[in-house]
Symmetry: C2
Subunit: 257 residues, 2 copies
Amino acid sequence: MRYRIEVAYLGTSFHGWQFQHGVPTIQGALREALHRLYGEPIDVLGSSRTDAGVHARGQVASFVADDRHTLENIYKALNFHTPPQIVVQRIETVRDDFHPRHASRGKWYRYRIQDSYAPDPLHAWTAAHIKHRLDADAMHAAAQVLVGEHDFSSFRAAGCDASSPVKHLRSIQVQRVGRYSIEVDVRGSSFLKYMVRNLVGSLVDVGRGRRDADWLAGVLEARDRTKAGATAPPEGLTLELIDYPEDPWTVERRATD
Amino acid sequence: MRYRIEVAYLGTSFHGWQFQHGVPTIQGALREALHRLYGEPIDVLGSSRTDAGVHARGQVASFVADDRHTLENIYKALNFHTPPQIVVQRIETVRDDFHPRHASRGKWYRYRIQDSYAPDPLHAWTAAHIKHRLDADAMHAAAQVLVGEHDFSSFRAAGCDASSPVKHLRSIQVQRVGRYSIEVDVRGSSFLKYMVRNLVGSLVDVGRGRRDADWLAGVLEARDRTKAGATAPPEGLTLELIDYPEDPWTVERRATD
């Protein structure tokens, strides 16, 4: 049987999605939970390799196992055996041709910023802290040059293994949602390594008034990582949702309540 | 000079507001920060002794020190010397007759609940997790019997040092704010020890359908702690705001941005 799970996690204390020996990772924790449940090693294929410290509410993954357990029991066992920062929100059986990455049509990332000298500590784990006030409207206006299909080499990290630096960015919205709170919503088909955090780093330079919209357009044009701003820190970033065609693979489902 | 500060904190890893030897407390951390800044012990008087694990966004405190530092410098030094989970959001100089507890007219507490088997881990530090679905409307309706001046002995913890169990509860609102997220807002002049968490614990019993509004009315009437529900856990509770008359004490102010 092929199973599809939706996973949320607070990434603070994990070295990202991808399994690495000797350090806590999301994939490693899910593998271990499955090992405990089935008594044998079972691999988990993720849709998105989120970076160290990055969070998710809508990660999607898949694994293959025999049918000895009900969906209800797998769902409860995975939530029992994973640490409390990792939550399996949904499980379903899917057709065998489901592949979490290939089937996906796009992703929505949200980057949260607190732009106050004294940030709200209740959001300290899920928002980046910028000590300077930012102009969210200027950030939003400048960001629109990035929308569409572009070569995003200027926002691509070293070690990125994507076959092409050309990506289709569907939208970027920057808005102030609280007195000291800004959200940057980025939607696209797929992303280069660190791409969202690198875009946000440059937008923060615009928001602080150190750079303007023309500069951002020039950075995109340059296709040169050294021209762009710094990489924004991971704690602000959450993979909110992965978009799939109306789940034609689903066979049976067990949702979160 | 008398100084008034507004303090926010994520209470997870603290043993509450009140200083205790050998364990981390909010009052202890502020005292230590002041000691570092002034080179001598300085006490901090808080408005509300929040319990271990409880958060605050609007705690108010006061201390007396000489005038060698500007407000700007005290503000920055306190934020530098306190751990990141504690943030001083505002500082002002006040008249010497200001007392953070006596001057207060009331408090607003918010209790956050996630009522899903699989809660959103991004809110794990600031919301209580109840594995069962709750009926927020039934909780709200039942709670209205608590509004007004009553003897709240049924919701008073052992060891409470209030002179009287009679308190004036101004309002309680229970509402669903997300698919798996409920907020309980409680406003009153002052509160007994564990009173908000004890009220919420009984309301959760109503929300689960194990008890009804008549039962809650009977519990209040009984003035007997053993009749009420369990104490709700601390991580869901935040002291949101302390209400003062229009700050007639203020001399000079330094706000958060």
